[in-house]
């Protein structure tokens, strides 16, 4: 089996080398078609496309009109031709080549824009060249949007400048007001302090005078009271002295009694003991104590100094002068600061950003067409190539002869499929190399990963070729059948236009086309710069479809050969 496969591959290579038409179809034809399609349909993917002469009638001659004309002149694909007459512009659109559209900028456009109105440009269009008109209208629409945005930005800028000036004046006014207020408050505080000091001084003087007078009165009253007390004391001193003398006499009497008693007892002799003890005389006060009674009474010294009351106790609270409306002004100014200047309503627009950070939103049309048409020609080459070579083998009788040799039919078929499979991969690699060299296509971050979808589509195409060889009834029916099938699969799978252009039912159908998954992989790897892992699931889908084709083709072909 392996030997048969290997020898068949070698023989296929010899047959291919000897067939210049096949080589032409494999390489030269795809490059030519890719070149034509890439340059012709580049605008679909945002490319420059064709160059147009664009008549412009400027009746406005204002700032807005000049801005539009300048912007149009900056477009690489547009050559502006200024005219004075609208009819001349119409005639150019009607009769001259490469002029599908003309613009009239009506008088007063600038003024209308400045005054907030919505002026209109007038476009004279050639309905026959709707596609070009559409492309140019996109440009003009973008310019109008830019001009409107610029006018709005200018108005907004002026509004903000006025707002800033007003705020500056208000701030200055607030500052001056605060300054005046501060001065007033200072003066009011000073006045209040002076009044309070004066009041305090007067109170202090009054208190001082009151204290002096009170002290004098107190001294007089004290002297008078003391004189009265001294009189009373003198009387009581005299009584005390008498009492003192009495006591002294009592002491003498006590001592005399004791002597008497002693003599009595002596006299009583034995009966002395029968004499009851005399009553005890109370202990007289100590002599010193008694002597103290005789001391003169010294009147206590009375401090007639009166406490001087603090003037503070008599301080008069003078209310502060009322603030001169400062709180209201500050609050209002604060609120004003928080307020924004009136802002014009925004202009809703969009900015394209790549889905993957750092990548471009603009696509080289050849990034789509090189793989797209590469796959198309791969399909044609593989499907027709395999089908025709199998029919050739039948027609030439070589297949019969080879089968007699004992080589298994599957080995022969696999040999042919593998040979074409390799050719398909080489074809795609060469086309990508040419695309890279001539058209600057992106090979993505992982150029080798492009082999993943290439392998898948080569396999599926080879298997489809076997299906065609087993279905087509004759050599002559291979070409129309194979071309129709390959073109249909290529078209439906998004090889010629983005898949999103297709209606839903066609996109659903496209899931069963290997080209769909392959184009998805190429777009992911080349344009979206995704890693190789992004191509694995589409590869599985492509190979899965290829396996179905292969099994069906093998069964059908083997049945026919039997």
């Amino acid at each position: 089996m392996l030997r048969a496969i290997w020898l068949t591959i070698q023989n296929e290579a010899r047959l291919l080398i000897k067939d210049p038409i096949v080589l032409f179809m494999l390489l030269f034809a795809p490059v030519v078609i890719i070149t034509v399609a890439g340059y012709s349909l580049g605008a679909v993917y945002g490319g420059a496309g064709s160059s147009f002469r664009l008549p412009v009638v400027n009746h406005d001659r204002g700032e807005v009109a000049d801005g539009i004309v300048d912007a149009l002149r900056q477009q690489q694909s547009i050559e502006v031709e200024l005219l004075d007459d609208s009819d001349a512009a119409r005639r150019l659109v009607s009769h001259r080549d490469r002029t599908p559209i003309a613009i009239e900028i009506p008088a007063g456009t600038t003024e209308a824009v400045s005054s907030g109105q919505d002026p209109h440009l007038i476009l004279f269009v050639d309905p026959v060249r709707r596609l070009e008109v559409g492309a140019l209208e996109l440009h003009i629409n973008e310019l109008c949007r830019k001009v409107s945005l610029q006018a709005r930005a200018t108005a907004q800028k002026r509004l903000e400048e006025a707002d800033a000036e007003l705020r500056a004046n208000l701030r200055r006014l607030a500052t001056e007001t605060a300054k005046e207020q501060s001065q007033f408050q200072s003066k009011a505080a000073a006045g209040q302090a002076a009044i309070q000091a004066s009041i305090r001084a007067r109170i202090a003087a009054a208190l001082q005078q009151l204290a002096v007078e009170t002290s004098a009165t107190l001294k007089t009253r004290q002297a008078e009271a003391w004189s009265d007390v001294q009189g009373q004391l003198a009387e009581r001193e005299a009584i005390l002295r008498k009492l003192q003398n009495y006591l002294l006499q009592l002491q003498v009497s006590q001592r005399a009694f004791e002597d008497w008693l002693a003599k009595l007892k002596t006299l009583a002799g034995s009966h002395a003991s029968d004499i009851p003890p005399p009553p005890e005389f109370p202990t007289p006060p100590a002599a010193d104590d008694l002597a103290a009674l005789s001391k003169p009474i010294i009147p206590p010294k009375i401090d007639s100094t009166l406490p001087t009351p603090s003037p503070e106790a008599f301080a008069v609270k003078i209310p502060k002068p009322p603030a001169i409306g400062d709180a209201g002004l500050a609050a209002e100014l604060g609120q004003f600061e928080e307020m924004r200047a009136p802002i014009l309503p925004g202009y809703l627009t969009f900015v394209e950003r790549p889905a993957i950070e750092g990548e471009s939103t603009v696509v080289n049309a050849f990034d789509q067409y090189v793989p797209g048409f590469g796959i198309t020609f791969l399909l044609i080459g593989m499907m027709l190539g395999i089908a025709l070579t199998l029919f050739d083998e039948r027609d030439w009788g070589t297949l019969r002869r080879l089968r007699v040799s004992g080589a298994p039919l599957t080995g022969l078929l696999f040999g042919k499929l593998i040979a074409r499979f390799i050719v398909g991969i080489v074809q795609m690699v060469l086309l990508f190399a040419v695309g890279w060299l001539l058209f600057g296509i992106s090979l993505g971050r992982y150029p080798l990963a492009l082999l993943i979808p290439t392998i898948g589509i080569s396999f599926a195409s080879a298997a489809l070729g076997l299906v065609i060889a087993s279905i087509a009834r004759a050599h002559d029916s291979v070409m129309p059948f194979g071309v129709t099938l390959s073109m249909s699969i290529a078209a439906i799978g998004g090889c010629w236009w983005p898949l999103d252009f297709e209606p839903d039912w066609m996109r659903m159908l496209a899931r069963f086309a290997p080209t769909t998954w392959t184009m998805q992989s190429f777009n992911d790897l080349m344009i979206r710069n995704r890693p190789p892992s992004a191509a694995l699931w589409p590869l599985a889908a492509t190979v899965g479809l290829g396996m179905l084709f292969l099994v069906a083709g093998l069964i059908r072909f083997a049945t026919l050969e039997d």
Partner: protein, 318 residues
């Protein structure tokens, strides 16, 4: 010549094949021994190609079986397949490849190693007289050269069983001669050869045995001599004359009879026992004042045998 004791290397046992309602091969059996050339002789549509397709394992019979070297082909298709060599009626060549590349590819596919294949290519290209044109593409060859190259591709691996399906159709005499020589040489080298043709002369020349086939059936199987005898044919003399034949002129000739269906205006067909009677016939005609303008002597052959056995000409459908 094959050895009588050698077992057949190729056998077909009661094989039948139908295409729809049409029976192409009808219970046909044959066996070919190494070194023998067996001719399949029959008109177009007799079933020769179908028989060869079945023998070469390209086609499965509806019934019956084929044995190669005593084994069914399916038992070891690779080994048994390499014992076979097929030279189909239609050319089986890659037109864009050179003669050498064609032969090389089939040699390799037949299992020859690179060195052996290279030697075999050189040898066989020399045998078919294409050494000088070995590197020219096959499509640039004349019909005869293509036929020789076709043969070379079938014998490059020295097959044990060589099957040729009308290999000389449309070739020049020189190429035909080379082809027949090579076939005979392969048989002498030990190959069992099955040679399908509707050219009776080729069968008579190179076949050790001839199998007469008609409508898928084996009509007769034997050596040329056996089949001619089986057909019961006698020598014929066909002549063109001027003059008026007298009545009963033939009565003077013993065992000579006029064949009615072969005669026409001024033409005469006679059947006799032996070619030795031809001078007597010519003498008798001269004696009768008949001017013989032309004559042809016809010995009995396989075509006669075929007609005798089937009632149809070998070239009915040519």
């Amino acid at each position: 010549m094959s050895s009588p004791s050698h077992p057949p290397i190729l056998e077909a046992i009661e094989i039948s094949k139908s295409y729809g309602a049409r029976l192409a091969v009808d219970n046909l059996s044959l066996a070919v021994k190494p070194g023998a050339v067996a001719g399949l002789l029959g008109p177009n549509g007799a079933g020769k190609t179908t028989t060869l397709s079945i023998l070469s394992t390209l086609m499965r019979p509806d019934s019956g079986r084929v044995l190669i070297d005593g084994k069914p082909p399916k038992s070891d298709p690779r080994v048994l397949g390499r014992m076979l060599g097929l030279v189909p009626q239609s050319l089986a060549l890659y037109p864009t490849l050179s003669a050498r590349q064609n032969v090389w590819h089939f040699a390799r596919m037949q299992g020859l190693a690179r060195v052996a294949a290279r030697e075999a290519c050189a040898r066989v290209l020399d045998e078919v007289g294409l050494t000088e044109r070995a590197d020219d593409p096959a499509h640039s060859f004349s019909g005869g050269m293509k036929r020789r190259l076709n043969l070379a591709c079938g014998i490059v691996h020295r097959p044990a069983v060589l099957m040729l399906d009308e290999p000389t159709v449309g070739v020049d005499p020189q190429s035909r001669e080379q082809i027949l020589t090579l076939v005979r040489r392969n048989a002498e080298a030990g190959a069992a050869v099955i040679y399908s043709t509707h050219y009776m002369e080729e069968a008579e020349r190179i076949c050790d045995r001839v199998l007469l086939i008609d409508r898928g059936k084996l009509v007769a199987d034997g050596t040329v001599e056996q089949l001619v005898a089986l057909g019961g044919g006698r020598p014929r003399l066909e002549l063109t004359y001027r003059g008026s034949l007298p009545e009963r002129w033939i009565d003077y000739l013993t065992d000579v009879h006029e064949i009615a269906q072969a005669t026409g205006e001024g033409q005469l067909a006679l059947e006799m026992n032996s070619l030795a009677q031809v001078p007597q016939v010519l003498h008798q005609l001269r004696a009768a004042n008949i001017n013989v303008l032309d004559f042809t002597i016809h010995s009995p052959n396989l075509a006669d045998a075929f007609i005798a056995l089937t009632g149809r000409s070998l070239r009915d459908n040519v």
